[in-house]
Symmetry: C2
Subunit: 233 residues, 2 copies
């Protein structure tokens, strides 16, 4: 994975800010030299159409001078082969993975990323980079043939990572409890990325950016709070 270049954001926006505003210094740096980003709108937040979602992404990149095109505009397989860079937006992870598996895009996209094409994800699109999407927070509104993901990183991500609310009277499981249950049946590490955090990955180097620590889970061990900087735990 020496060639990979990834920007994996926990969320597309943080409270009170515009779409991708908190990434406005990171984006031009990561996408330096890129003229057009190919956008994968398959996660369809709120069930909006591919076109509607692509319009949102175009607006998000408007200030950067980089053009955005939807992967569905023209031949999807050709668009993956010719993409300068890919950005997969958030929404429903099950819907995203189902559409990617059924359109046969998972392996071609993976190969392009391993060969060095820059990949950016936010939320569901960040989940997609992991070994599986088994640590998504989403509702299974559709049924994909598999939970296998791109596996361009050797761990899973839990985006929108949420600390337990000490005042909550709700009896649903905390995020940490869910990830501990995940580790009863799965061996891969899980990185809990808080909103406002992102990973910048250049080859073998993984950096946590933004102002928050990440909460990192390894099977059979206590979770670790890792500060921004090189992600090691």
């Amino acid at each position: 994975m020496q060639k990979r270049r990834l920007l994996l954001a926990s969320t597309s926006k943080i409270h009170g800010q515009d779409y991708m505003a908190y990434l406005q210094t990171e984006l031009p740096d990561f996408f330096q030299g890129i003229k057009t980003i190919t956008f994968i709108p398959f996660a369809r937040p709120g069930g909006i159409t591919f076109d509607e979602y692509t319009t949102v992404a175009k607006a998000g990149f408007a200030g950067t001078g980089i053009k955005v095109m939807g992967i569905h505009e023209g031949d999807i397989a050709e668009n993956i082969e010719n993409a300068e860079a890919v950005f997969t937006g958030g929404g429903n992870t099950f819907l995203l993975v189902k559409t990617l598996h059924e359109s046969g895009l998972m392996q071609p996209l993976r190969q392009r990323i391993l060969n060095g094409m820059p990949y950016m994800g936010s939320s569901a699109g960040t989940n997609l980079a992991g070994i599986s999407v088994g640590t998504t927070n989403d509702m299974p509104i559709v049924w994909p043939p598999s939970l296998k993901a791109l596996e361009v990183i050797d761990f899973n991500i839990n985006p929108h990572y949420l600390d337990p609310d000490p005042n909550s009277k709700h009896m649903g499981e905390t995020r940490e409890t869910r990830i501990r249950e995940f580790h009863k049946f799965n061996t891969q590490d899980v990185v809990g990325l808080r909103e406002g955090s992102w990973l910048r990955i250049e080859g073998e180097d993984i950096f946590l950016k933004g102002e928050h620590h990440a909460r990192c889970f390894r099977q059979g061990q206590k979770p670790v709070e890792v500060p921004p900087g090189k992600l090691i735990w």
Copy 2:
């Protein structure tokens, strides 16, 4: 479905109370005449074993004079055929459904319920009664062969239904947003059962019990708040 008898609880306990304490008046009424309940521990909250979970359920029924046995104690298929009543506990819905499908129990259990055997569920066990478990809140820590559920009611349930928190700065989807997304791809009604609510179903009659309203979602319509009593909307 004239013979069905169901008790479907949103949660096994409410904040600050013991396991099933809030159901202590309902349980003896629903299970009148039943000597032994067969417990399905497959949802394994926190990844505990079938035996450990069955011990929890036994303690929950200790005050009722009703015996509890785990479905895994002896031959599972025979235990379903001979059960006087079944209770499926909460935990991880994906794990529950996977174990039921893989052990071939889904159809036999469904038939017993349609023939009048009393069925109780809480949380994941309540989800299980619906058309699918596509409205679960759980993390897909394992991957079942299908999301199809018992279909002993003609709608889906969202247990632990949670109203939006107006003070939250978290950008994850609200429960209502998730259910609206579900309805972009699925047609069945969804009943959001708040913690402390349960459904008591006798044949064709469905009653909402407990102190809360249920929030009921129909595809293409505005959600409706339905008060305790006969569930009609």
